[in-house]
Each structure stands twice: as structure tokens, then as C-alpha cells.
């Protein structure tokens, strides 16, 4: 196709549709409990993908520039859904394609694109409301595991993640790491821990995993740099006078000269000191960590901006904890001596901030702090045969965890496409009552779109969608299809669930983006278009 070029109707619509269809065909097979994979070539490597969001991310351009525009419009929407709720890309793609495809037919039948878009956008909130009217909280560990399985289709992973979230709760923090074996392992961390290890290896003990552990330790937190021995001498003298035998110093930095004070053999006999530094990429993380350590341990942070000085530290500025540990990259405290009342108030404030936070980064930071203050920390180690497999399973585990957290926050709805299908019938009834062309078409488009995910799910499982949908209609409200067992079931009773927020977000973004795409009349193709790499 020559460039530059301006493309007009009807080629615009046809090109956009071809681009959308190309992307949807790559993603649609991943929907449902019997997903098929796509393979992506990345330089000399091949990557097996079973997640719609990642597949969309790997497709950075289509060869035909006009089709590429359609594909990239959809790609952007899919990635937004994936980033925001961790799942639902395949559902979004199917909804988007159906809204766009049906919308084109309605435009061909005389609907005005702008008025059609307005009608779709006006209808969308009520359909989302209807979709969420069946939402309910998750009930127990078994439902969490069943939901996790419907998100990752990996029984071992589902069992581990279900148990972990059940144990540490919606505000718990899960650190997913690459494991060394083939399976999955997990452990719970008592208390809170931070990145940033002991500042000298001589503070650590043990050959296999060097670590410093102290029981009933005093803790001092400061944002000051310790450069000279004289900075520390008054502080250590105070600790000795106060009968402190174990001390954790959390500092901004410490010089070798400063370390020589705490590592002095004569002093070490009287007081075991571990000096750690918090590693934080964001200034807010550092102050948040200092504040959290202070809350957990009852320490009064010694801050430069508050005019504090290490020379003027008092005995009651030290906090305490039953158990303190540090290795070369992390340190933690458990059973701190902080005031439970202050801790409770701080957690309530953080939960409120988490609920109102809009960016994923902010939510993630708040969740880290909540996990530490609330004692809800777990580490999951994801193994595999090869590095690629481990990376892929790790991404799947992280995506599943994000969706499980959404489910814990906002509840679940009947799964297997049933909740969306339920919206369809009332939309069809409403369409018949409307005289306005665009309002009627909007309802018919939405009704058709709501059926698309379940049709694809049935197709992926090897069934005739029309036949199964007819059987479901005769089986009453709540009936759905268990594609793994091949039978009609009550989906709620069978534990087939979807994350309410994922489905709502998929519908919201798919309809609003596809409705906007319907209003595109011309494509302007530049001579040297940029390849979409963000994301």
C-alpha cells in the first residue's frame, strides 16, 4: 500500500474491521477452560502464549498499514484492560469486535455513527449495572481456588494462590519470585520486611544463607547519613547505658568509618548491632518505610527535616521487636512493640487511600505497606523446566493474583459467560420498545455483543454454540455450560465464577472504544509510521 495516503469510506471501515479481526483471531482461542495457545517469535526465540493481554502486546504492527490502525486501536484497549484488572483481554476483544461489526451493519442500515455512539454510551452504565447485579462476595478457600483455576488453568498454581490469598487476605502482599525447582513453593513471612540489607557482611552468620537474627532487639530509625564515628558514639553510649544488648539501626547510609564503631570487638561483646539501609526507588517509599517501621516497633524516627540529631537521641526514641532479622538484601521485624491503636488507625487510613487510589502504581505501593503493617506477607516461588517457562508461569501467577484481589475487593458473578448472556434478553426486549433508530440499534448491538464471549468459549471447547445455547435456554435461569465436564450446570453451584470487576471493565472499555472506532471516517497514513511499542 503506497504511503502517504488518505483512505476514505467504505475502505476505512473495511480496513479497520480486517485489522480488528486479525487481532481477535489470535486472542479468541485463549478464552475459556480449554484454551489454545498462540506462538510468538521474538528474535531467535519462540514464546508460547495463552493470555490475550500478552498476545496483544506481542503484536506490535500488521503488514498492511490501514489494517494496522484497526488492530492497534483494539490492542491499546486490550492492554488497558489487562493492566487495570489483570485479566479479561479475550472477553474484551470479542466484545469489541462484535460491537464494531454489528455497528457497521447498523450504519449501513441508516444509523448515524455519532448518534449511534451516543446511544451506546448512554446504554452502557445500565448494562454494567445489570451485569453487576449478580455480584456477591467470594465464599471461602474452595471458591478462591476454583476462581484461580479459571484464571490460570493450572491446578497447582490455583491451589497455591487460592490458599495464599485465603490466608493473608485481600490486603496481604504476595511476592512472586522465580523458583529453583519445577513446581511451586510458598511460605508466609511473619511481620514485615523491606528491601535493603545489612551494611556489613560481618554482621551476618551462617554459610548457606548468611543472616543476622536478634531477639528482643531495640530499633532506631533515622534518615541521616552516618559519616563519622562521632555521629554514632553518643547513640551507642546511650544504648549501653540503657542496657540494650541487641540493636537494629535503620539509617540512610553509613560510611566505613561509621561501621567501624559498631563492629569494634569491645563493643560487639556488649551490644550486637545490625545496621541496615532501606532501598527505595521512590522518595515516598522511603518515608513510608520509615514511618511503617516506626509504627510497628514504636520507634520515634530521627529525621533531619524535624531538626533531630543523633547526639540528642533519648531512650524512649528506641522502638523494639521480639524478632529482627537481616540478610544481605532484606531486613524484617516481627512482633514489634508499636502501639496497636496507632497501628490500627494507620491501617484504616491506608485502606481508605487504597480504595480511592486510581493508579495501579499507587495501589501497589499502598498494598505493600498494608501487607507489612497488617502482617500479611507471603512469598510464592514459581518453578518450571526452562527459564522461559518460569517467566511465563510467573507472569500468569502475577496476573491471577491481580484478578483474585479484584474478586476479593469487588466480588464475583456467574462465570462461563453466563452473566453477560443474562443481560442479552432484557436488551432484546428493550430494543423492541424503542422507536428511535439509534437507541434500538444500540440495544441490539449490545445484545449481540453479550453473547459473543460464551459463543467463543463453547467453540474453543469443541461444541456447537447454537446447540448448547438452546439447551441452556431450556435449563432455566443460572444455567451454564461446564466445558470441562461437557454438561449443563448451575454455574454458581458448580463454582464457575468470573471476577465481577474484570467483566465490567471488559464491557466498559470494549464498548466505549468500539463505539468511538465506529465514528472514524478517514485514515491518514504517514510516510514513516511509528511502530507501536508502548506497551
Amino acid at each position: 500500500m503506497p504511503r502517504p495516503q488518505v483512505i476514505h469510506q467504505p475502505q476505512t471501515q473495511r480496513a479497520l474491521k480486517r485489522g480488528i479481526t486479525t487481532l481477535v483471531k489470535a486472542i479468541a482461542p485463549t478464552l475459556g477452560p480449554t484454551p489454545r495457545r498462540s506462538i510468538a517469535q521474538n528474535q531467535s526465540k519462540f514464546e508460547l502464549l495463552d493470555d490475550g493481554g500478552t498476545i496483544a502486546r506481542r503484536i506490535v504492527a500488521l503488514p498492511e498499514p490501514d489494517e494496522d490502525v484497526g488492530a492497534m486501536l483494539l490492542r491499546q484497549t486490550l492492554w488497558q484492560v489487562h493492566q487495570h484488572v489483570g485479566d479479561g483481554a479475550a472477553t474484551t476483544a470479542l466484545l469489541y469486535a462484535r460491537v464494531y461489526g454489528e455497528g457497521l451493519r447498523c450504519i449501513a442500515a441508516g444509523a448515524d455513527p455519532m448518534r449511534l455512539r451516543a446511544a451506546l454510551m448512554a446504554l452502557l452504565p445500565s448494562v454494567i449495572e445489570r451485569l453487576l447485579s449478580d455480584a456477591r462476595p467470594l465464599r471461602g478457600e474452595d471458591e478462591l481456588k476454583a476462581l484461580a483455576f479459571s484464571l490460570c488453568y493450572d491446578e497447582t498454581m490455583a491451589a497455591v494462590l487460592g490458599e495464599v490469598i485465603h490466608t493473608i487476605g485481600r490486603y496481604g502482599q504476595v511476592d512472586v519470585r522465580a523458583g529453583h525447582g519445577r513446581g511451586m513453593e510458598y511460605n508466609y513471612v511473619e511481620g514485615g520486611y523491606w528491601r535493603g540489607g545489612a551494611q556489613s557482611k560481618t554482621m551476618l552468620r551462617g554459610a548457606h544463607r548468611p543472616v543476622a537474627e536478634m531477639h528482643d532487639a531495640a530499633i532506631l530509625v533515622t534518615d541521616m547519613d552516618i559519616e563519622e564515628p562521632r555521629d554514632l558514639v553518643p547513640l551507642m553510649s546511650l544504648a549501653l547505658r540503657g542496657g540494650i544488648e541487641k540493636l537494629l539501626l535503620v539509617v540512610a547510609s553509613i560510611s566505613d568509618k561509621g561501621l567501624s564503631v559498631v563492629l569494634d570487638e569491645r563493643l560487639k561483646d556488649k551490644i550486637q548491632t545490625v545496621v541496615v539501609k532501606i532501598d527505595a526507588f521512590h522518595p515516598g517509599d522511603l518515608s513510608g518505610a520509615q514511618e511503617d517501621i516506626a509504627l510497628l516497633t514504636g520507634a520515634k524516627p530521627q529525621l533531619q527535616k524535624a531538626g533531630h540529631s543523633l547526639e540528642r537521641v533519648k531512650a524512649d526514641d528506641f522502638g523494639g521487636a521480639r524478632w529482627v532479622w537481616a540478610d544481605d538484601s532484606n531486613f524484617g521485624v516481627a512482633s514489634g512493640k508499636g502501639d496497636p491503636r496507632q497501628l490500627r488507625d494507620a491501617v484504616r487510613s491506608l485502606r481508605a487511600a487504597y480504595a480511592s487510589a486510581e493508579s495501579d502504581d499507587d495501589k501497589s505501593r499502598l498494598l505493600e505497606r498494608l501487607g507489612r503493617l497488617n502482617g500479611g506477607l507471603a512469598t510464592v516461588y514459581v518453578g518450571g523446566v526452562a527459564e522461559d517457562e518460569i517467566r511465563q508461569r510467573k507472569e500468569t501467577a502475577e496476573r491471577t493474583l491481580r484478578a483474585l484481589r479484584r474478586a476479593a475487593d469487588h466480588g464475583v458473578i456467574p462465570g462461563g459467560g453466563v452473566a453477560l448472556l443474562r443481560c442479552r434478553e432484557s436488551l432484546q426486549e428493550e430494543a423492541a420498545r424503542h422507536d428511535n433508530l439509534e437507541a434500538r440499534f444500540a440495544r441490539l448491538i449490545m445484545a449481540a455483543a453479550c453473547e459473543a464471549p460464551i459463543r467463543q468459549l463453547l467453540k474453543n471447547a469443541g461444541y456447537d454454540p447454537s446447540e448448547i445455547l438452546a439447551r441452556m435456554r431450556h435449563s432455566g435461569d443460572g444455567a451454564g455450560f461446564d466445558a470441562l465436564r461437557g454438561e449443563i450446570v448451575d454455574v454458581a453451584e458448580a463454582g464457575i465464577l468470573d471476577v465481577a470487576q474484570v467483566q465490567a471493565e471488559a464491557l466498559r472499555r470494549a464498548v466505549s472504544s468500539a463505539a468511538l472506532a465506529l465514528t472514524i471516517d478517514a485514515l491518514v497514513l504517514h510516510r514513516e509510521p511509528e511502530t507501536m511499542t508502548d506497551p
Partner: protein
């Protein structure tokens, strides 16, 4: 029953079948019908004192809270082994067994400074389960009669009360009318009502699993123990002795004026066993 052989404080009492056990500073004692006390730890740790704070039993399994973990016997107290928690050594202050302990092996142990530890293998191994706790000083535990299926447990701590809905793995703090009051004792009645004895605010009752509360007994002093009889009578151990209410807390009368160390309700829900400060173990019919 008559006087016991030693006069030392009894920290807790347990009536398991016909056997009476008393946890004391010097060890765990079995009290015979004549009131004689035999230290069950003597054959295990001769000539040593092992301070014991809490007791629980199911079938032949007997658990005793000690410094560092629990002492466990699976032959009714003849032989013992120490099942230690992680270091630093926690002091087990209270124990609670799942009503289906013999099937699920689930037990919870509250500790003085280290929160709650949980065992799911009959008390052989223990893991700290402090997810959700802001306060790690645990004074009392109570498990729902349907704990094996509903997973509901309560923990009274130094600054209030916590509820778990997943078998004691994750804990949520409950708002109490007394604010951040220390909860020293807990009892669950047959009708599901939860009674919480506070350090300075008397006795509270919740009929909705801790969501709302009503005052049952106004008291400036501590309610160290509470028991609810099968008949519905409420017994509260306060600093001056024992009080009893037969009308859901509307009025209270003196039940025992003597100095009582601790009390426990028999499995029949009709007999109260009292450990007196003079060493006697006294049964009292309700």
C-alpha cells in the same frame, strides 16, 4: 474434694472426662478424687519446675501451654514431649482445640507477646498465624462450635478483640464499645452469643459474632474469666470472687466470695470447677 498437696497459684483448670488437671507454676497436676495432686511432668522432667499456663484436651491428647511452646501427651499424660514454637520463645497463655480436633487436628495457641500459633496436625507442629494482628499479646481464645466448617475463632488481646473466619489464619479487628479495651476472657454460649470479659469495662455480649455489643456487667475491675452454663446462667470471675446472673445480665448475685484463682465449666455445662487460692479444687453445681 479436700485440700491439695501444694498451695501455689493455679493458672488454669481442665475437666476432661473424669480427670481434673491444674496448670501451675511448678508444672501440670492431675487432681485425684481425694484432692491429691500429682505433677504429671515429674516423670518427664524430674526435679524441674515447668511453669504451665494453659490446658486443653481431646481424647487421649493433652496439651499444656509452657514457655516456648506446648507440652504434648497422647496417652492421657503418662508420657510427654515438648513441641516448641519458633524462637524467640513465646509464652503460651491460652489454648483452644477445634471441636473436631480428633478429625482435623486443629489447635490454636495464644501467646503473651507473639500472637497466635496454629497447628493442624494435632499439636505436633506449630506455625505463627499473625496475619491481621496489630497486637500480639493474646489473653483468650474461643472457637465456634462449628469451627471445623465455619472456621470462626475469636482472640482477646491487649487492645481489643479479633475474629478469624478462616480457621485462625487471618484475623480482623472488631470494634468494641469500650474502645481498645484489653479482653481477658472469652466464652461462646450454646446459642452462639459471644461473651468478652474486659480488664476495666466489665462483661460485654455480642449476638452477631462481634459486630455489635451490649454491656452485661458494669465493673471497674477485671473480668478474668467467664462461663455460660447450659441453663443460660452466666458466671463471671471478678476481683472479689464469682458473680452469677440468671437473667441475661439484668441482675447479678454473689456466687462465691472466696478467693478464686480460676474456674472452668465441665463438659456437661452444669458443673463449675473452681481452683481456690488455698489450693483446693471445688466443684459447684449450677
Amino acid at each position: 474434694m479436700t485440700a491439695a498437696t501444694t498451695i501455689e497459684r493455679t493458672n488454669s483448670l481442665l475437666l476432661a472426662g473424669d480427670a481434673i488437671y491444674a496448670a501451675r507454676q511448678s508444672g501440670l497436676y492431675q487432681i485425684d478424687a481425694a484432692g491429691g495432686a500429682r505433677n504429671l511432668f515429674q516423670s518427664w522432667l524430674p526435679d524441674q519446675e515447668l511453669p504451665t499456663l494453659a490446658l486443653a484436651a481431646a481424647g487421649d491428647v493433652l496439651l499444656a501451654g509452657i514457655n516456648g511452646g506446648v507440652a504434648r501427651s497422647d496417652d492421657g499424660g503418662t508420657t510427654w514431649s515438648a513441641q516448641l514454637f519458633r524462637a524467640p520463645a513465646p509464652l503460651a497463655t491460652c489454648l483452644a482445640l477445634s471441636p473436631a480436633f480428633e478429625a482435623d487436628g486443629c489447635a490454636l495457641a495464644g501467646t503473651f507477646e507473639d500472637g497466635v500459633f496454629r497447628s493442624s496436625d494435632g499439636g505436633r507442629t506449630w506455625r505463627a498465624v499473625n496475619h491481621g494482628f496489630f497486637d500480639h499479646s493474646v489473653y483468650a481464645l474461643a472457637l465456634s462450635p462449628g469451627f471445623a466448617t465455619d472456621g470462626i475463632a475469636f482472640a482477646g488481646v491487649g487492645s481489643g478483640l479479633y475474629r478469624s473466619e478462616n480457621g485462625g489464619r487471618l484475623w480482623h479487628d472488631l470494634r468494641m464499645p469500650a474502645g481498645d479495651e484489653t479482653v481477658l476472657s472469652l466464652a461462646l454460649a450454646a446459642d452462639g452469643a459471644l461473651y468478652a470479659g474486659c480488664e476495666a469495662r466489665g462483661l460485654l455480649r455480642s449476638k452477631d459474632a462481634g459486630n455489635s455489643w451490649e454491656a452485661m456487667l458494669e465493673s471497674d475491675g477485671a473480668v478474668n474469666a467467664v462461663a455460660v452454663a447450659k441453663s443460660g446462667e452466666i458466671i463471671a470471675q471478678v476481683e472479689d470472687g464469682l458473680l452469677k446472673s440468671e437473667d441475661e445480665g439484668a441482675s447479678w448475685s454473689e456466687f462465691a466470695a472466696e478467693d478464686v484463682d480460676c474456674m472452668t465449666l465441665g463438659a456437661d455445662g452444669e458443673t463449675l470447677l473452681l481452683a481456690m487460692a488455698d489450693g483446693r479444687i471445688v466443684p459447684k453445681a449450677l
